[in-house]
């Protein structure tokens, strides 16, 4: 079995399962349109509650990692693979930046303002770049 959960860690099992599906996608153990094991199979193999497996799969569908096809099972979604990874990468980078800024003593408001002005500048730059593109 691809997955393993640890009941004594205190982390909700559906979250553990979600992490492991995502990890399997990242490492390439699961690829686009690969079928995931059925809910019953996961529940039996890991001796865990089927509703917990259902919840993990639903949340993963919601995040765009997999697709639930009625009656056929769960499949890894194509484009989501790289998209999910990108989002997570950006999230990690962002978290580190936020953490550093907070440690420097910035307030949440100040951070929000920096973020908003940064986004505005990026918008401008992109607008200018698009303009250049058009002129060519």
């Amino acid at each position: 079995m691809l997955f393993r959960v640890n009941a004594s860690s205190g982390v909700p099992l559906y979250l553990q399962l979600m992490e492991q599906v995502k990890h399997a996608v990242e490492t390439g153990a699961l690829r686009e349109s690969d079928q995931l094991p059925t809910i019953r199979k996961v529940a039996e193999d890991l001796v865990m509650n089927p509703n917990t497996v259902v919840r993990a799969y639903r949340e993963l569908e919601h995040e765009g990692v997999l697709e639930l096809r009625h009656g056929a099972g769960a499949f890894i979604k194509g484009a989501s693979e790289s998209r999910a990874r990108l989002i997570r990468k950006a999230q990690t980078a962002m978290d580190a930046t936020i953490e550093r800024a907070l440690q420097m003593g910035l307030s949440e408001d100040e951070l929000q303002r920096i973020f908003a002005s940064g986004m505005a500048k990026a918008d401008e730059r992109r607008g200018a770049a698009a303009g250049t593109e058009r002129r060519r």
Binding site: V5, A7, S8, S9, G10, V11, P12, L13, Y14, I39, R40, A43, E44, L46, V47, M48, N49, P50, N51, T52, R55
Partner: protein
């Protein structure tokens, strides 16, 4: 189908002078696997017997499938739709395994012959042996077979893995999970084995001295409970009173460990405001939640 298969309100029951249940509120959602936890003598078996109509509560109400468990007629209707494994594992001792299977089968039109064959083989049950000659583990397996094969909508299991060896426990739990996944059967089971409850249950209820002290979806409970570790700049800074939601606070030198049952955000913020304090969060295990509740009262 009602939202809750089992619903009790303010259920109370005393034996002579001793109160076994003191206003128990229990709700078991349809389709859930509900782990019923409590110390010995907390009221688990009394609750189960009341639900099956074998005991009458002094006050309050108990409904199973929406029917009152205290009413003799509906108790029969309820028992027809549930399979149960009780703690004392009472069976007709003069029968052989084969006889009691045949005897029980006669009462249930929805009897599952396929499951019967499967479990006889899987549990390695000696068909010709008398029930009195069975080990504790064998009796548990036999009761489980009788409970499951009748095609029940609800399984009530009082310590279903009690007396089984680790390999047999794994077999039994895997079967329960498989039945739940295949048929959507609701399961209400009591257990002392927190690790197995942690894996198999999606809802739990912790009973202590006849009262429900914590109940709900296991994921929600785990998300709500947190350990906060606060490292103070100065040991004397620790507030005398923490915010609402702190179940326990323990201080060792400059380190304060809090067990929080709700409002974790607000409490972390409160700790963060102490000058120079560093706050870390850790998940809490079911065992820690359980011990906190049955010890503190």
């Amino acid at each position: 189908m009602t939202e809750y298969v089992i619903e009790t309100e303010q259920l109370s029951k005393s034996y002579k002078d001793k109160a076994a249940l003191r206003g128990l509120d229990l709700r078991v959602p349809t389709g859930s696997i509900f782990g019923f936890l409590g110390r010995n003598g907390a009221g688990k078996t009394t609750t189960i017997k009341t639900l099956m109509g074998l005991l009458h509560a002094d006050s309050g109400s108990a409904r199973v499938f929406g029917l009152p468990a205290s009413d003799a007629n509906s108790a029969v209707a309820i028992r027809r739709r549930i399979g149960f494994v009780t703690e004392d594992k009472e069976l007709y001792p003069y029968m052989t395994v084969e006889e009691i299977i045949r005897f029980t089968r006669a009462f249930f039109p929805a009897w599952r012959d396929d499951l019967e064959r499967r479990y006889v083989e899987m549990f390695d049950l000696p068909l010709k042996r008398r029930i009195t000659e069975l080990s504790k583990g064998m009796r548990s397996k036999l009761m489980l077979l009788l409970a499951i094969c009748r095609g029940a909508d609800l399984l009530i299991l009082d310590e279903p893995t009690d007396g089984l060896d680790p390999a047999a426990i794994e077999d039994v739990l895997r079967e329960l999970v498989s039945i739940a996944a295949t048929n959507g059967t609701t399961m209400f089971f009591s257990s002392h084995q927190l690790s197995e409850v942690d894996l198999v249950a999606d809802h739990i209820g912790i009973i202590d001295r006849g009262k429900m002290v914590a109940t709900g979806s296991l994921d929600d409970i785990k998300a709500r409970y947190q350990h906060l570790r606060v490292v103070l700049d100065d040991a004397r800074q620790a507030p005398v009173r923490w915010g609402d939601g702190v179940e326990s606070a323990r201080q060792e030198g400059r380190v304060v460990t809090l067990l929080v049952s709700r409002n974790a955000e607000a409490i972390a913020a409160q700790a963060q405001e102490l000058p120079g304090a560093v706050v870390e969060r850790y998940p809490v295990t079911l065992k820690e939640i359980f011990l906190e509740h049955v010890r503190s009262n």
